[in-house]
């Protein structure tokens, strides 16, 4: 046996060990989801069983019915979808002209304006909510959809991403459009918007998923059912004295996480590339 084949054999063992390890890693991340789905189809006696059997005895939808009975699920779904969609669209609509101004227009104080945008990137919602809450209470907007959407209408991250994307668009294109008599709005939304579509789609997806998932802001800004969102409702399931009725909590959790996982599965190539590029 030559040394070369020994190395090859060692390498093969290493490969197998590596695959085995990575398989374990995948299990650590996927098993909790499987456990969640399995639990959601169980009945209460099955949950209480001392050495619990991992799989449900059959597909039991009792837990899902209980979720429907415990909260206005349709209303929460609608609220969450409308809020996330409104924020994502508003951010795109505002970030485009703002990014355009920072990338293509020359004006006094442009570096300062850009610096300010970057600085607000660092300020998280947890810092802003006290003054914003006080402000919204003053104008009686707490507990309205406006309190959920408006504070996020302007996105520093979005403005930054649009600016970066527009920097790679040659100025001559903008100048040519101006010579053809196109107005600024037309240039921004009609010409440049489609040119940086990948950036805008990434911004839209991020924004939508982030706000669909958001728990903190709706928690501090709403107190009644008419504007409450899904993450709040599902988290409440556990607090409402459900005790050991985990099948109901997990059924709610399936309803909350499945749409997001579906969006991720459908757009993951795109999302992963966007994350990797620093979004």
């Amino acid at each position: 046996m030559t040394p070369r084949t020994v190395i090859g054999w060692k390498g093969a063992v290493g490969e197998i060990a590596l695959h085995f390890g990575l398989g374990l890693v995948a299990l650590v991340w996927l098993l909790p989801y499987a456990w969640m789905v399995a639990t959601s189809f169980k009945t209460l006696p099955e949950i209480l069983q001392a050495p619990s059997y991992p799989l449900p005895s059959g597909l039991d939808f009792e837990a899902y019915a209980a979720v429907l009975g415990a909260m206005p699920l349709g209303r929460y779904f609608w609220n969450t979808a409308v809020m996330a969609l409104a924020i994502a669209l508003l951010q795109m609509a505002v970030a485009l002209p703002a990014g355009y101004a920072l990338a293509k227009l020359r004006f006094v104080g442009r570096p300062l304006a850009f610096g300010l945008v970057i600085a607000t990137l660092l300020i998280p919602a947890q810092v802003r909510f006290v003054p914003v809450f006080a402000l919204l209470a003053e104008v009686r907007l707490v507990n309205t959809m406006a309190a959920l959407v408006l504070p996020f209408g302007v996105s520093a991250l979005g403005t930054f991403l649009v600016r970066q994307a527009l920097l790679s668009v040659p100025d001559s294109i903008v100048e040519a459009a101006r010579l053809d008599g196109a107005g600024e709005l037309r240039i921004i939304y009609g010409l440049l918007g489609p040119m940086i579509a990948p950036t805008l789609v990434a911004l839209f997806l991020f924004s939508f998923v982030f706000h669909w998932n958001d728990y903190f802001w709706p928690l501090v800004m709403t107190t009644n059912d008419t504007v409450r969102t899904l993450p709040l409702g599902i988290a409440l399931l556990r607090e409402q004295g459900t005790g050991v009725r985990w099948h109901i909590v997990m059924a709610g959790n399936v309803l909350l996480s499945l749409p997001v996982l579906a969006v991720f599965a459908a757009t993951q190539r795109y999302l992963l590339r966007a994350v990797a590029s620093g979004a």
Partner: protein, 222 residues
């Protein structure tokens, strides 16, 4: 103090896990892509979902993990009820959630390391560990600084997972900074005190970011 301990565990844990996985997954093929997506999926799912999921897995009586531990003949710990352990449990759940983020960023950074450099080092007889230490790591340092900043800031802002899993307890052992602010405003109705805390929090975040940027530039210049 709770927040500092929590952040240290989370940043160290998610970064090293992310880097390790990125090194193992830096290859073509469906299997690697599948594992990467599985790990990253937790980053996409909401904090509420993750918190509820792990509450159930870690449930002392009927949870899957407790059952597993009992099966192997050991006595399961009360992961969330023990004030000594709870903060580490919440930190581990947070690592589970955000490791996918550092994995994806590190993978992108690894893709920028020229293959020829690796091959040249291998020809010179450098083993895998030395190749990582002398070739990969120096080129990866800006990426690492970026991941460190982001996860540090992320861990300082942690709230949802604490609110859902422990409500700051037991005996305030998991009351992180943002949760304390929230408590002051909505439970103790001390808006003034909370506002002061917010200012401190903000200055702290700003300082951290400035420090990170400075460290980053220093390294770049070196």
């Amino acid at each position: 103090m709770t927040t500092l301990l929590f952040s240290a565990v989370v940043v160290a844990g998610s970064m090293s896990l992310g880097l390790l996985l990125a090194l193992a997954l830096n290859r073509a093929g469906h299997f690697a892509a599948f594992v990467r997506s599985a790990v990253f999926s937790a980053y996409v799912v909401s904090w509420v979902s993750v918190a509820l999921l792990w509450l159930w897995v870690l449930d002392a009586d009927a949870g899957a993990l407790s059952a597993l531990v009992r099966q192997s003949g050991l006595v399961p710990r009360n992961w969330l009820g023990d004030p000594e352990v709870a903060i580490y449990t919440v930190a581990l759940v947070t690592i589970w959630k955000i490791a996918g983020y550092s994995l994806v960023i590190f993978l992108a950074g690894l893709q920028d390391v020229p293959r020829e450099l690796q091959e040249a080092a291998a020809l010179d007889g450098a083993g895998a560990f030395r190749r990582f230490l002398h070739v990969t790591w120096p080129l990866l340092r800006p990426t690492a600084a970026f991941v460190a900043t982001t996860s540090l800031i992320l861990s300082f802002q942690v709230f949802d997972v604490v609110r859902v899993m422990t409500q700051g307890g037991p005996i305030r052992s998991t009351t992180v900074f943002v949760y304390a602010i929230y408590e002051d405003i909505f439970m103790n109705l001390r808006v003034g005190r909370a506002s002061a805390q917010v200012v401190v929090f903000f200055v702290f975040l700003l300082g951290l970011t400035a420090l990170q940027l400075w460290a980053w530039r220093q390294r770049e210049a070196a």
